[in-house]
């Protein structure tokens, strides 16, 4: 059991690295592939937890996470990037530089670790580091939305937030029914599809994916 949670905590560290890379990716395609890799790490976490806790539901989760997070979300994003064409590869400078982003991620990690240390739930006892990482992951997603000017990149921010919630659920309630997980994952897929449709319509209207140009409504 201890080995299982050690692997989960280690995978959590990989998770933080991949999510930081999603935020720092200069090209959208890079971000999509990095997101797919990160989702693969989440699937590995779910499988490790399934073996460690003996939860059959978690096997189902890892299957649905593979379909939705590793395949569907990156596929939707790559399709949108292809449809937009060369403009999608145009670099839009983010509001926060790479060093600023990394510093923020470290701060978020420390704060989340301190917050999670007080949680005394039995399921959290051995997974405090992973739990802190899951919470930090959520805030890294928020950082991505706030710091990025490319509106498709902001969609990745939402996906990171959703992934953070998902990992927290798996850590704290490994025996949660598959229906709960499926409902959340399905809703997230719809959210991504709708955000991508709106982003594409904005691109067609503005000929740009820059959120800085969406500043006409004020006051």
């Amino acid at each position: 059991m201890e080995t299982g949670y050690m692997i989960v905590n280690l995978l959590g560290c990989v998770l933080i690295i991949t999510s930081t890379l999603v935020v720092l990716s200069r090209k959208l395609k890079q971000a999509a592939y990095t997101y797919a890799i990160q989702s693969l790490v989440i699937v590995a976490m779910f499988l490790t937890l399934a073996v460690t806790c003996g939860s059959t539901d978690l096997y189902l989760w890892s299957g649905s996470a593979f379909i939705t997070k590793v395949v569907l979300v990156p596929a939707i994003m790559l399709y949108a990037i292809k449809k937009i064409g060369p403009k999608a590869d145009e670099e839009i400078p983010s509001k926060l530089g790479p060093i600023g982003c990394v510093i923020l991620v470290v701060i978020e990690l420390v704060v989340c670790y301190l917050a999670v240390m007080n949680v005394t739930l039995p399921t959290a006892a051995e997974a405090h580091p992973a739990l802190a990482i899951a919470l930090a992951h959520f805030f890294i997603g928020l950082t991505c939305i706030v710091s990025q000017r490319n509106i498709l990149k902001q969609v990745f921010g939402y996906c990171l937030m959703e992934n953070g919630s998902h990992v927290t659920l798996a850590l704290l309630a490994p025996s949660a029914p598959g229906l709960v997980e499926t409902g959340i994952a399905t809703d997230a897929i719809f959210a991504v599809i709708i955000m991508v449709i709106v982003a594409y319509k904005i691109y067609k209207k503005n000929d740009s994916l820059d959120a800085g140009e969406l500043m006409n409504l004020k006051g």
Binding site: A115, N118, V119, T120, L121, P122, T123, L135, F138, G141, L142, I145, I151, Q154, G157, Y158, M161, E162, G164, S165, T168, L169, L172, A173, S175, A176, P177, V180, G183, I184, D187, F190, A191, I194, M195, V198, A199, K201, I202, K205, N206, A211, L214, N216, L217, G219
Partner: protein
């Protein structure tokens, strides 16, 4: 027919309408078909919602459906009634409004189809959210309300409408993700306490075990829920999507967003508030909600005053009034909870009326700029009269409904010994009164623009507005007994104790008791 079956029919009927409309090809099917299906959908929702709510209020029995997944208790009933009534009246107003948009070239048949299909989908998602007993389902439904309304906000497909739609979808999905995190923390916490963890997602199952939940987790989870669902409710500082979405959406959509959707998000906050006070007591949620509430009221009050765009002004009013609801919840006690619930209902009706009126102004003047909207009462007498009345109602003047809930809010604050807060609240409301009086004096009165024809909007647009105006006047003078009983029962659910009907059964007696320190 069994009430459980009727509840399922109520939930499913707008979804069926949406699916039928979505399946019909916009190129060959004309507008009247979509209008017919839309009217059928809102009539069914109205009749079933009113019937079920009446049954619930008069018998006091919870209506359950699909095992424990849907639960219509007194608390849910108040919001389902709001969805049914406002959805129906605003839905009726939609017909002449959309016809006008088609006439002036703002919409084509494809957009009409989008509008009516998503209107019913919006009702469906709100009804699901209000009646859900499963906390994760509640989150899914609140998220679904964003997804179903984003195309309504951006239906005009203009640059500004798409900008508003993007801000709406990104702020609300990111905000509601906080709600997801909070919900999952509540769920995981309950799963570790309940013997049968499959029941841990059901609000009614968690409630008896609330005191056994982990206090740290509950405090973190409630904070996440307030941020998450508070974003959707339009509480400061997460309210930034609200003025953009409300101003760019078609007026009936703004009416539904402001009148109903914000309140449904408040209902979800109330559900988690009940669990939180059951675990860690009143102090933490009270401080949080009072702080957010008073900040929302103050910031929005000044924004209301300085705003010249009619719909943006109304949007900030929504932020201010949701702040009042949060403030009342923060005050707590039977009066505070009753005031929060009554204010949700009264503000919902009043704001739905005002957004419909803003639709009349747009149809007549073609602008939302209040500096260009003058002499409404001369140019369109019926619209002008209702507009003046609605702004006085929004300012909290008697004999309109919001006077009752606002005075109850003050009494709740007094009972909770929050004297500084109620003084700040009173100052903010004075600013709001000035803003409302200014709209009446500068836009309703005065001289209309030259060459403007003296002609009102069609009667089909005025009738739903007259009904809404009558409702806020009626509820301001004498609230019907079934509604009072419903509010009593809902207050009891929130406080998890029997509330003596003598205290809140008659608001005036409740207020009198509070003043006398009983």
């Amino acid at each position: 027919m069994d009430l459980s079956v009727l509840l399922i029919v109520l939930l499913v009927s707008p979804l069926i309408a949406t699916l039928i409309m979505a399946a019909l090809p916009a190129k060959s099917v004309g507008r009247p078909v979509y209008e017919g299906l839309h009217i059928l959908s809102i009539v069914v929702v109205f009749c079933l919602a009113v019937y079920l709510v009446f049954k619930q209020f008069t018998t006091g029995q919870n209506i359950m459906a699909a095992a424990e997944w849907f639960r219509m208790d007194a608390l849910a009933s108040i919001f389902i009634a709001l969805i049914g009534v406002i959805g129906f009246l605003v839905g009726l107003f939609s017909v002449p409004y959309i016809r006008h948009d088609v006439e002036v070239g703002n919409m084509d048949n494809g957009q009409v189809k989008t509008y009516y299909a998503f209107f019913s989908l919006f009702l469906f998602t709100m009804l699901l959210a209000a009646s859900s007993n499963n906390i994760i389902m509640m989150w899914i439904c609140i998220e679904a309300t964003t997804l179903s309304t984003v195309f309504l906000v951006g239906v005009y497909q203009t640059k500004l409408a798409l900008e508003a739609a993007w801000k709406y979808v990104i702020v609300c999905t990111a905000g509601v993700a906080f709600g997801l995190y909070g919900t999952l923390l509540f769920y995981a916490n309950a799963a570790s306490v309940l013997a049968d963890s499959t029941k841990a997602a059901f609000w009614s199952e968690i409630l008896p075990y609330a005191s056994q939940l982990d206090p740290t987790v509950v405090a973190i989870a409630f904070t996440f829920c307030v941020i998450g669902f508070g974003t959707k409710a339009g509480l400061f500082p997460m309210h930034t999507w609200l003025p953009d979405a409300h101003s760019e959406a078609p007026s009936p959509v703004s009416a539904l967003l402001s009148g109903v959707l914000l309140k449904v998000a408040v209902l979800v906050i109330i559900r988690f508030y009940v669990l939180t006070i059951g675990c860690i007591g009143q102090l933490f949620p009270s401080i949080m909600l009072t702080t957010i509430g008073i900040l929302s009221v103050v910031v929005a009050a000044f924004s209301v005053y300085y705003q010249n765009d009619l719909k943006r002004k109304l949007a900030y009013h929504s932020c201010e009034n949701i702040g009042i609801v949060a403030l009342c919840l923060g005050f707590g006690g039977p009066l505070g909870i009753a005031a929060a619930l009554l204010h949700s209902v009264f503000h919902g009706l009043t704001k739905a009326l005002l957004f419909c009126i803003s639709g009349n102004v747009l149809m007549k003047y073609g602008t939302r700029d209040l500096r260009k909207v003058t002499g409404v009462i001369k140019a369109a007498p019926a619209t002008g009269t209702i507009m003046a009345m609605a702004f006085f109602a929004l300012a909290g003047f008697p004999p309109f409904a919001m006077f009752n809930s606002e005075i109850t809010a003050f009494m709740a604050g007094w009972s909770a010994h929050q004297y500084v807060v109620i003084v700040i609240f009173a100052i903010a409301l004075t600013v709001v009164v000035c803003a409302c009086a200014h709209v009446v004096s500068a836009s309703v009165l005065g001289e209309p623009p030259e060459h403007m024809e003296k002609k009102d909007v069609p009667w089909s647009a005025l009738v739903p507005e007259i009904i809404l105006a009558c409702l806020i006047l009626w509820f301001g003078c004498a609230l019907p007994q079934p509604i009072l009983t419903g509010v009593d029962n809902a207050t009891s659910i929130v406080l998890q104790q029997d509330v003596d009907p003598a205290d809140t059964g008659s608001l005036l007696s409740g207020i009198a008791n509070a003043v006398q320190g009983k």
